[in-house]
């Protein structure tokens, strides 16, 4: 039977690969990602189930799913001009199909993508966590950017349903669950700082979210992460929903590691669940 052995949460800022290439392995971004990667690899995962929000690259507004799962033999990216190497990565289609079927049976109407590429929101984390691309993925897409967003309750319930479906998969596999995104971020909207194109409008919310996660207060986090609250955190604040879905695998357990970067609007965290 499959088993969830780790959960991690990371940001996916597009300039990280270029930043770390320039600043080297001792810069904060490199060290934080390395710490998360250490916990991830200690759990020896066979597959990564990843919750992310496509930034109008894999999908566009002609057809934009609230929830979707990618089911293919492989995918590639980044498909959005992010300054980083291009990668091809395997998708574990058998697990993805199982999770989609089980989630649909549980009441989550997941859209299907069978031919797709990925943007920085998955490729930046993989670049740092599994640069050899040796671990296949199952990508879940949650609409965190185009209001109205799905509710935090719905995303948490999706995460719980997917976790139950992982435990129900008859094959032996060690599964790690990944949530990708920021807690507070405004790009191109009215709350950017003067002279900038992006900023962190709500650092207090970042600290508050980090403390809830650190202490396992997931019910409180889900209750507080209303659409209005997420919007106050910035027009990219809905990325917290990716973390909330990931937390469906954690069940209120405390992380082995968590480190916020308050001024940048995000955090890094890792749970060992095996």
């Amino acid at each position: 039977m499959a088993e969830i052995v780790a959960a991690i949460g990371v940001p996916h800022t597009p300039n990280f690969p270029a930043l770390v290439a320039k600043q080297g392995p001792d810069c904060p971004t490199a060290r934080l990602y390395a710490e998360v990667a250490k916990h991830l690899h200690a759990a020896k995962p066979d597959v990564l189930v990843i919750y992310t929000d496509d930034h109008f690259n894999t999908f566009f507004l002609d057809n934009f799913p609230i929830f979707a799962v990618g089911i293919a033999d492989a995918t590639s990216g980044p498909n959005d001009q992010t300054a980083m190497p291009s990668y091809r990565v395997a998708v574990l289609a058998s697990l993805a199909s199982h999770l989609r079927a089980k989630a649909i049976a549980a009441g989550f109407d997941l859209s299907l993508a069978q031919a797709f590429e990925l943007d920085h929101s998955i490729m930046v984390p993989l670049h740092f966590l599994t640069p050899d691309m040796a671990i296949p993925i199952v990508p879940f897409f949650i609409n965190g950017l185009a209001p109205p967003l799905p509710t935090a309750q719905r995303c948490y319930a999706l995460g719980k349903a997917v976790s139950a479906a992982i435990a129900d998969w008859p094959q032996d596999a060690r599964v790690a669950v990944v949530g990708s995104g920021s807690f507070s971020l405004e790009i191109g909207g009215p709350r950017i700082p003067p002279g900038e194109r992006a900023g962190t409008p709500d650092p207090e919310w970042v600290k508050h979210v980090q403390e809830h996660i650190e202490h396992g207060r997931i019910a409180e986090l889900v209750a507080e992460a209303t659409p209005a609250r997420l919007a106050r955190a910035g027009n990219i604040g809905g990325e917290l929903l990716n973390w909330i879905a990931m937390l469906g695998a954690v069940d209120g357990r405390r992380p082995a590691f968590i480190a916020p970067e308050i001024e940048h609007g995000h955090a890094y965290a890792a749970w060992r669940l095996d």
Binding site: H55, F56, N57, F60, L61, D62, D80, Q81, L145, A146, P147, P148, E186, I187, G188, G189, P190, R191, I192, P193, P194, G195, E196, R197, A198, P227, A228, A231, N235, I236
Partner: protein, 92 residues
């Protein structure tokens, strides 16, 4: 409801280098065939991102325009204008 076309102008500036070059070279001619309202066409050509935002254009996509300073939008000009925008009706 042609704000979709505004969003697509921005998205294609990232994804389609030929389109991006056309926008750089002659923005008025480039967007001439698109199904835009007169107000949208004028707002794009004037770089009026606050108005476009208020009509529902997505700010993540609008911000792409600054990468190539399309429609005259430097980062500082974009920032100054968008910071004066009101929230669009119905967006939470």
């Amino acid at each position: 409801m042609s704000i979709y076309a505004v969003n697509k102008v921005c998205r294609d500036a990232l994804h389609d280098p030929v389109w991006r070059e056309a926008l750089k070279r002659d923005p008025k001619s480039a967007i001439a065939p698109l199904p835009l309202s007169a107000e949208e066409r004028s707002a794009l050509l004037n770089g009026d991102v606050a108005w476009l935002y208020e009509q529902g254009a997505h700010p993540f996509l609008l911000a792409y325009l600054t990468r190539w300073e399309l429609f005259g939008l430097t980062v500082s000009l974009y920032s100054e204008r968008i910071r004066a925008a009101r929230e669009p009706a119905g967006r939470e």
